[in-house]
Assembly symmetry: C2
């Protein structure tokens, strides 16, 4: 909290700085991808000390998650979606992802597309899919081959992201959220039902 | 055909050169991605003139297709799969893709992963999906929202490639082809049936 100006409400100043960091991070992730973006550069662009980025967001991964404005965090959001049970889960999943991603098309596209520019690693979105999505879906499934089916649901979600934001197939890329939900959710639900 | 040695059967010599070009291309695509690979470099590595690559394969795109050893080419293969009608098409599509891709996991992964290292373009696999897969699927569909559904089938295929080869989710990545077909095909078929 060094450098905080006196006489200004802490909450407002904190919100301003947090917003400035998020705006810089969004620009940086979209332009240079996840691996090409450093916390130091984001901090410099936002006019704050790098320690403040760590203070607000903890890590570059969490900063990325925050730029997507997923409520709370993906794990918590998914937990809520899944808590309502397997019935209608395909619909809730597709709606949650598309409506969370749509406001950040460029960031999502950059991250899915080539954020890892030729390295061996998977794109961070794919890593998040592995650690968060597959685990969450798996907990919601019943019946046989739960692991495989959870991974294939994740495949559908990743594929939807690639097709809507990276490949930008038309009419898919421009279709309203509810049209995508109506068309895609039954296919996702079919894997959930097994 | 300059530089062909005399006294050796044309067909055998031609097959050797073609195989040498393919081997060089496979290595180059896996190591440097689609955009990072030049026909000139592939030719040099194979010890042939670049014009011979053009003679055998026509373009870098066709050379890439050839490295995947898809029988004839993807459009012809898909046409055959689709000609059998929409019934069971989900199953035939998943089996065709997985069994065609499995022998070339590294190439597929490299191309899906980061072949375009930060550029604006889509990965070539995504471009091929747009031009070949979406168009072919679309021709097989009946009912409403055919364009959207064809693009969502392509999304499922791309997502399967990402999950099996790039993210390498387990058990998905190691599952036998027929296990993947059994689990995923009904979800693909659900979009085909609309």
């Amino acid at each position: 909290m060094t450098g905080r100006r006196r006489g200004r409400p802490r909450s407002s100043e904190s919100a301003d700085r947090r917003a400035a960091i998020l705006a810089s991070a969004r620009t940086a992730f979209a332009a240079r991808g996840f691996q090409g973006t450093t916390v130091r550069a984001v901090a410099a662009d936002a006019g704050v000390d790098p320690s403040l980025v760590a203070h607000y967001f903890g890590s570059k991964e969490r900063l990325f998650v925050a730029t997507m404005e997923l409520p709370v965090d993906p794990a918590a959001k998914l937990a809520g979606v899944i808590a309502e049970g397997p019935q209608g889960l395909g619909e809730r999943l597709v709606r949650t992802f598309v409506s969370s991603w749509d406001p950040h098309r460029e960031v999502i596209a950059a991250l899915l597309r080539g954020a890892v520019s030729g390295s061996e690693a998977s794109p961070p979105v794919v890593e998040m899919a592995r650690e968060v999505l597959v685990a969450a879906i798996h907990s919601a499934l019943e019946g046989e081959r739960r692991e495989l089916r959870a991974e294939l649901v994740a495949a559908q979600v990743i594929g939807l992201g690639m097709a809507r934001y990276v490949a930008a197939f038309e009419p898919l890329a421009s279709s309203p959220v509810e049209d995508v939900v109506a068309a895609y959710a039954p296919a996702v639900q079919s894997l959930i039902d097994g």
